[in-house]
Amino acid sequence: MTRTALDRQLAEIQEDMLVLAGMVESAIDRGIQALRNRDAELAREIIADDIKINRRRYETEERCLELIATQQPMAGDLRTIAAILYIIVDLERMGDHAEGIAKIALMLADEPPLKPYIDIPRMAQIATRMLMGSLEAFKHRDAARARAICNEDDEVDALYDQVYRELVTYMLQDSKTIERATHLTWVAHNLERIADRVTNICERVVYLVEGKIEELNVSKY
C-alpha cells in the first residue's frame, strides 16, 4: 500500500482540525456559561484562549501547505486538503464569535440579568451540536448527514428572530434596558453566525465526498 506518508500526514492534519473544533466548541459552551453565571473570570479565560485557537489554525494551515508541496495530492486527497484548509478558516472565525460572546459576558457580568436566558442557550446548544455533527460527517465522509445538519440552521435562524423580537420589545418598553438588550442581541447574532459557518463546513464535506460545490444554506429571504 503506497502513500503511507501521505495517509499518515493527512490523518494527523485531520486530527489537528478536530482538536481545533473541540477548542471552539468549548469556547462557545463556556461563553454561554460565563454569561449565565456572570462569571467575569471565566470570560477573561475564554478571551485569552482565543489566541490559542488562532495559533492552531495557522499551524494547521502551514501543515496543509507543506503536505501539498511535498506530496502533490491529487483527486480525493486534494479535495480533502482543500476542504480542511477552508474548514479551519471557518473554525477560527467561529472562535472569534465565541470570543465576542465572552466579551459581552464580561461586560454584563456586573449587571443583573435582563431576563432568564432560555432561547440564547438553546441556540448555543443547537449550534454546538451542529458543529460537532459536521465534523463527524467529515470524519465519516457522510454527505447525507452534512446536508441534514444544514437544515438545522433554520431552527437557529428562527430562534434568532424570536430572540431579536423579544429584546426589541424590552427596549421599547423600558429605555434603561437598551444597553443590556443590545448586547444580548449581539450574542444571539454571534450564535447565528456560528451556525451559518457550520453550514459552510457542511458544504465542504459534500464537495469532498461528491466533488461538487453546492450552496446548502439558501436564505429564506
Binding site: 500500500m1 503506497t2 502513500r3 501521505l6 502533490q72 495530492p73 491529487m74 483527486a75 480525493g76 486527497d77 486534494l78 479535495r79 466533488g211 461538487k212
Partner: protein
C-alpha cells in the same frame, strides 16, 4: 452559373455576389487544409502475433489541443500512440482490427501510403535521437527526402523549424556542428524541429521528457503549449503532474487480466485529476496502486 456561388469545386461564377462568395469559400477551404487533423480510434484491437496488446480501444482526440495518455507500465500506451503513425507496422506479426481515422480517413486502408502518412503524423521519441549529422542536416533531413534540394529553400525551412521549436537562438551560429553536441534538452527540441520541418498536422510524443532534467522538461512543456495552437498533440507520459500541467484531455489506460490494454477513463484533464469518475483512475492518480 449560379447566383449564390453554391456548388462544388471552382466553378466560374460571373455575378459579383457569386464571386465574393467564391472567394470566401476558397478562403475557408484554405483554412481547413491547414487546419489540423482530428484523430479517432474506433474499437481497435492490436495484435502482435497471438498476443493482444490493445483491446476494444475507442478514443476521440480533438484537433489543436494536447491530449495526454497516462497509465501504469505495460498498459499499451506506446502501442496506442504508434497506431497513429503506423510505427507498429515495423514489428513483425503486428495486426490491427477496427478503424483508426484521421479526419475521417482510415489510415490502415490499403490505399494509404505509409510514408506519406508519417509526414502528416510526426513522432518524437523518449530518448532524443538526433542523427549523426550537423544540426542543419538533421532538420533538413525530412525536406530533403521529400525532394527539396535548393539550399536557400532548405535554409528557410531549417530556420523556421528551429524557431518554432524555440531552439534557433541557441544554435543559429552553430548549425554545422553535430546535433549530438547539444545538451539533452536541446537535442529533444532539435528532434521536435526535425518533425516540424516536414509540416505535419499531428505530433505524437512518447514520454519526451523522461530523459531530461526538470528545467529542460518545463521548457519542452512550454513549447508544447505553443505548438498546440497549430498542431494536434498526443503525448504519452509517466509523469502525472506533467499530464495535468500540459494537457486539455487525459485518457487513463490499464492492462486487463490478459495484459491487453484498455481505456479506463477519458475526460477533461482538470476534472479527471480533481474528481475522476472511475475508482481505478482515482487509485492510480493518488498513487495508491497495488
Amino acid at each position: 452559373m449560379t447566383s449564390n456561388g453554391e456548388g462544388q469545386g471552382l466553378k466560374l461564377d460571373i455575378t459579383v455576389a457569386g464571386e465574393k462568395m467564391m472567394q470566401a469559400r476558397e478562403k475557408d477551404a484554405a483554412l481547413t487544409q491547414t487546419a489540423t487533423a482530428h484523430l479517432r480510434a474506433d474499437r481497435v484491437n492490436l495484435y502482435y502475433g497471438h498476443f493482444c496488446a490493445l483491446r476494444d480501444v475507442s478514443l476521440e482526440i480533438p484537433a489543436r489541443s494536447i491530449t495526454a495518455l497516462i497509465g501504469p507500465s505495460g498498459c499499451g500506451k506506446s502501442s496506442f500512440l504508434r497506431l497513429f503513425n503506423r510505427m507498429n507496422d515495423l514489428i513483425a506479426g503486428s495486426r490491427v482490427e477496427g478503424r483508426v481515422l484521421m479526419d475521417g480517413v482510415d489510415i490502415y486502408s490499403p490505399d494509404v501510403d505509409v510514408v506519406s502518412l508519417r509526414r502528416h503524423v510526426g513522432m518524437v521519441f523518449q530518448k532524443p535521437n538526433p542523427f549523426p549529422m550537423s544540426t542543419f542536416d538533421n532538420v533538413a533531413f525530412g525536406p530533403r527526402r521529400q525532394g527539396i534540394s535548393k539550399r536557400s529553400q532548405l535554409k528557410d525551412i531549417v530556420e523556421r523549424s528551429l524557431r518554432e521549436a524555440a531552439l534557433w537562438d541557441e544554435v543559429e551560429d552553430k548549425l554545422q556542428e553535430p546535433g549530438t553536441a547539444l545538451s539533452g534538452g536541446q537535442q529533444q527540441r532539435l528532434c521536435i524541429a526535425r518533425v516540424l520541418a516536414v509540416q505535419p498536422q499531428v505530433i505524437l510524443l512518447d514520454e519526451p521528457c523522461s530523459a531530461l532534467d526538470p528545467i529542460a522538461t518545463l521548457k519542452i512543456e512550454d513549447l508544447m503549449r505553443e505548438l498546440a495552437a497549430q498542431y494536434t498533440i498526443l503525448i504519452v507520459t509517466h509523469n502525472m503532474q506533467q499530464a495535468a500541467r500540459v494537457s486539455s484531455q487525459t485518457a487513463f489506460m490499464m492492462a486487463d487480466e490478459e495484459r491487453a490494454g484498455r481505456i479506463i477513463e477519458f475526460g477533461n484533464t482538470r476534472e479527471l485529476f480533481t474528481k475522476p469518475k472511475d475508482k481505478r483512475t482515482e487509485d492510480y492518480i493518488t498513487g495508491r496502486f497495488g
